[in-house]
């Protein structure tokens, strides 16, 4: 399934689509979670940037991740901002920062599916799934099925 640039711009009218992030959003529409990876040294580059912070290579390729990871951060919006009409409609929202199995500190901001806020624990093994949000496919995470091979990673700076 190919997705044109036009379609990315049309379906994400509120997102600042740029040369650096368009492949990520194209991937979301295809239900593929793409993170830039350095072709020269293998480092995962996130957020979407055009060079590798470790070796300064310009050869970074949006690459599909395994979808495995652990919950590093989580919170629940109990009370949306007073003038945030979209937030008011959405009500309580669960937000999680998932440390992806690919690299320490590679954390993707997402939400949960098939679990409640009360089920969340730090370092809980999770896996990628896809939900619909505002008529668009959106990545979400659910408890990892079966024997999880994602290892807890050491705290490490990016780059």
């Amino acid at each position: 399934m190919t997705v044109s640039d036009d379609e990315v711009f049309t379906r994400y009218p509120d997102v600042l689509i740029t040369y650096d992030n368009i492949e990520h959003y194209r991937g979301l529409l295809q239900r593929r979670l793409l993170i830039n990876r350095c072709d020269d040294c293998g480092y995962w580059v996130y957020p979407h940037r055009p060079i590798c912070p470790r070796c300064w290579s310009w050869s970074v390729t949006p690459t599909e991740v395994s979808g495995r990871g652990r919950v590093h951060l989580f919170t629940q919006v109990r009370q949306p901002r007073a003038n945030d009409k979209a937030g008011q409609r959405q009500g309580s929202v669960v937000l999680i920062g998932v440390e992806l199995a690919e690299q320490p500190g590679l954390r993707y901001l997402s939400t949960v599916d098939g679990m409640e806020f009360a089920d969340l624990r730090h370092d809980l093994p999770v896996e990628l799934t896809w939900i619909e949000r505002g008529g668009l496919p959106a990545p979400a995470f659910r408890p990892a099925a079966g024997d999880d091979s994602a290892q807890p990673s050491e705290e490490a700076p990016v780059g």
Binding site: V15, L28, Y46, L73, T75, Q79, A82, P157
Partner: protein, 402 residues
């Protein structure tokens, strides 16, 4: 030791603050002007002497804010040689830097804050505040890359509160003690917005906003303006009032260069980098700080600055705060009892003015102007102000030029 040619070369010679109110019925500009005129009068300089301005805002135009463009025109200052808009802790560093390098000689720093429409239902019902929010997009992350951002600026802080408690095996009391300390000080500050004393129980009972962050972890939105006048140490000697001097200062950049990325961990955020930069530039140490001002947009910010400053190690603030707790006054006494923290009540209780309220309070304390809440014999004030992610500053002020 790193170079520090500005030590003792830059002086704060004027300070002005508006009342901290829920509704001042003033614009950002009006608040800034009220504070600016007070600060300029306090300094005893003529407006024609001011040739540098740091305005309030995040970019050149910052619609509706008290920018240098708006302030210079409103005050009728004919010409300047250096101007910039800034906010949070970094605004003071830019101001002092401009004086130290000779880009200007006498500088006006203004900061204005208002109770935004995004901050409460009652504020959202005020047409002036609502219009400001509509025009400027305040309170929403419009036009951003949703995949990498949180909905509101408080959520990452809430999530880091939870991670901190998990990683260090501590309770929420460590945050609560900051809230109680600041409220106890605000009770003695006639210009604080929230002055009713609170206990740890009150803290724990407050409404949850972003789990586990509660209402009393968050700053109090107010309408307020703050202003300072800075000049050279040489010029300060000829002015009538008592000057306060900059010993050392630092900003603190990290690899999470954009707003609210999640790649770093506790001990790696901007407060640590800013404090490291400060201590590299002075022979004074954290034990020399008579007063400590830790930015408290959220309690977890102040906790980070406390650990970053070196009052204790990573994750050790729970023990520090327990052993530093003054049960009579419900305040923290650091450095073995002699160092008071956030004597104005901070953003949590005096009111939300970024780091600006702390700079003003530190100057007044070092001049001995704080009346009932004056800290006896305070000669050195340490300020840490700014986000985990952007605009952090560490500043050491002294009552004499060293």
């Amino acid at each position: 030791m790193a170079r520090n040619p500005l030590r003792g070369q830059v002086a704060v010679v004027g300070v002005g603050s508006t009342p901290y109110l829920r509704d001042a019925k003033k614009t950002y500009l009006g608040l800034a002007l009220e504070a600016a005129i007070a600060a300029i009068k306090d300094a005893g300089v003529d407006k024609s002497e001011i040739n540098g301005i740091v305005g309030s805002g995040r970019d050149v135009f910052s619609v509706g804010d008290a920018t240098y463009l708006a302030v210079q025109g409103a005050l009728g200052i004919e010409k300047t040689t250096w101007v910039l808009n800034s906010w949070l802790g970094s605004c003071f560093v830019y101001a002092a830097q401009a004086v130290a390098t000779g880009l200007c000689d006498t500088l006006l720093l203004v900061q204005a804050y208002r109770r935004g429409a995004e901050m409460s239902q009652s504020a959202a019902g005020d047409r002036f505040r609502q219009r400001q929010a509509e025009i400027t997009g305040a309170g929403s992350w419009r036009n951003t890359d949703l995949a990498q951002r949180w909905y509101h600026n408080g959520e990452p802080y809430a999530a880091w509160m939870a991670r901190y408690m998990h990683d260090y095996g501590v309770s929420k009391d460590v945050f609560g003690r900051i809230a109680v300390n600041n409220r106890s000080h605000a009770a003695r500050n006639p210009n604080a917005a929230a002055r009713t004393p609170i206990t740890l129980d009150d803290y724990h009972a407050s409404r949850e906003i972003w789990t586990p962050m509660q209402l009393l972890d968050m700053d109090v939105p107010v309408d307020a303006g703050e202003a300072l006048v800075l000049t050279t140490a040489e010029r300060a000697r000829d002015l009538p009032g008592q000057a306060v001097y900059i010993d050392a200062m630092s900003l603190g950049g990290t690899q999470i260069g954009e707003f609210y990325e999640n790649g770093l961990g506790w001990g790696q955020f901007s407060p640590w980098r800013a404090m490291e930069g400060l201590w590299e530039r002075t022979d004074l140490t954290v034990e020399d700080a008579d007063l400590f001002y830790a930015y408290d947009g959220f309690t977890v910010n102040a906790l980070a600055f406390t650990e970053a400053a070196g009052f204790c190690g990573l994750g050790e603030a729970t023990d520090l705060f327990q052993s530093s707790w003054d049960k009579e006054q419900n305040i923290l006494r650091l450095n073995g009892g002699r160092t008071l923290m956030s004597t104005n009540g901070g953003n949590l209780s005096q009111g939300r003015t970024g780091g600006a309220g702390y700079y003003s309070e530190a100057v007044r304390q070092l001049r001995g102007d704080c009346g009932e809440r004056q800290a006896a014999g305070a000669r050195t004030a340490l300020i840490g102000a700014g986000s985990f992610y952007h605009d952090p500053a560490a500043v050491l002020l002294t009552a004499e030029a060293r």
